[in-house]
Symmetry: C2
Amino acid sequence: MRIAVLGGTGPEGLGLAARLAQIGESILIGSRSAERADEAARNLRSKLPPASIVGLPNAKAAAEADVVVLAFPYEGIEPILADCAAAMDGKLVVDTIVPLKVDKKFFGVEPPSEGSAGEKIQARIPGAKVVSAFKHQSAHHLIDLEHAMEGDVLICGNDEAAKGVVAGLVRRIRDLRPVDAGELRNARVFEAMTALLLNINRKHKTRASVKILGLP
Amino acid sequence: MRIAVLGGTGPEGLGLAARLAQIGESILIGSRSAERADEAARNLRSKLPPASIVGLPNAKAAAEADVVVLAFPYEGIEPILADCAAAMDGKLVVDTIVPLKVDKKFFGVEPPSEGSAGEKIQARIPGAKVVSAFKHQSAHHLIDLEHAMEGDVLICGNDEAAKGVVAGLVRRIRDLRPVDAGELRNARVFEAMTALLLNINRKHKTRASVKILGLP
């Protein structure tokens, strides 16, 4: 499976690319800049010698991939959609985006009219199978391949098979567990929880994560 | 400390009253109906023989208490405020309310313009010290005193001392841990998380809870 990570040169994207490369997936790091994509791919390959990691402009990465992970800041949605929506049509699209809003050191969300980044992307690419996931994993922890990840990867989406593919990837990443939270509308809660975690992090000077207890 | 639980004859209120009585607090169960309050108090006393548990109409319970726990459905806020706002002025008010909205078996929230039930109550009783807490504990598990509670009690509020009192109560309830999430605005996330947990419960046929990992 070829997985494109758009925004793959940013901290969250790079961390996800590293973890997905580590489990043997073929990674296309997408960036607005072909040079930065190439440089990030070279750096990552040097850390993970047998891995297949290539850097490409976002649109080319999306076009060549089977699965597209969106890991850029919320503000990037419009330009990336303009560039890559056609390339993502019909594909599994993993949304990790949070419409964060910081107000005097307080973290909140400023959700779009659709309710969440995940729902917005789904509305704009109706043929895509959007799965929201990885909204609570610290970029700092993901990129440190020695770090034992804690907490669950909450997953939601309207296509059961697509969620199954994402859950399968998560299960293969060391220490992570997928939790299916149901339909895509739950993405708005995932996004609000990211803001909550950032407030908790700031208060407790840590990088916290969330675990769901009591699952069968 | 005398703790009133308004809406204390409902499942969540009764569960909280039971747990708080169990740790030795003096409990005033408040209800719209003096008869139902009295009956619930009698039932609870029979399960917890040495406990001090009295049933009263909501307004009287609020007036006689040092701490007032709000454990009625969201729709009860307006009538209870009309009845009891003056009695709660200046007091520690523990808000456990969630503005839930069920749409074809999907759980969501319909927050008030203030952002959350907690913020609405604080806006309406500016002199109260509102702490939002206990939004994720299953009524079914609380009322079963043999059940080992799982998950954390997320707490938020704008008065540090008031949060400290609530955290102290939580710490004395077996198996529960308080997590200070910061200022009261976070209550909107707590409330959305309740809806998420209900969607997870429905999907996985369980009663899930949430734990924060990575705290110092």
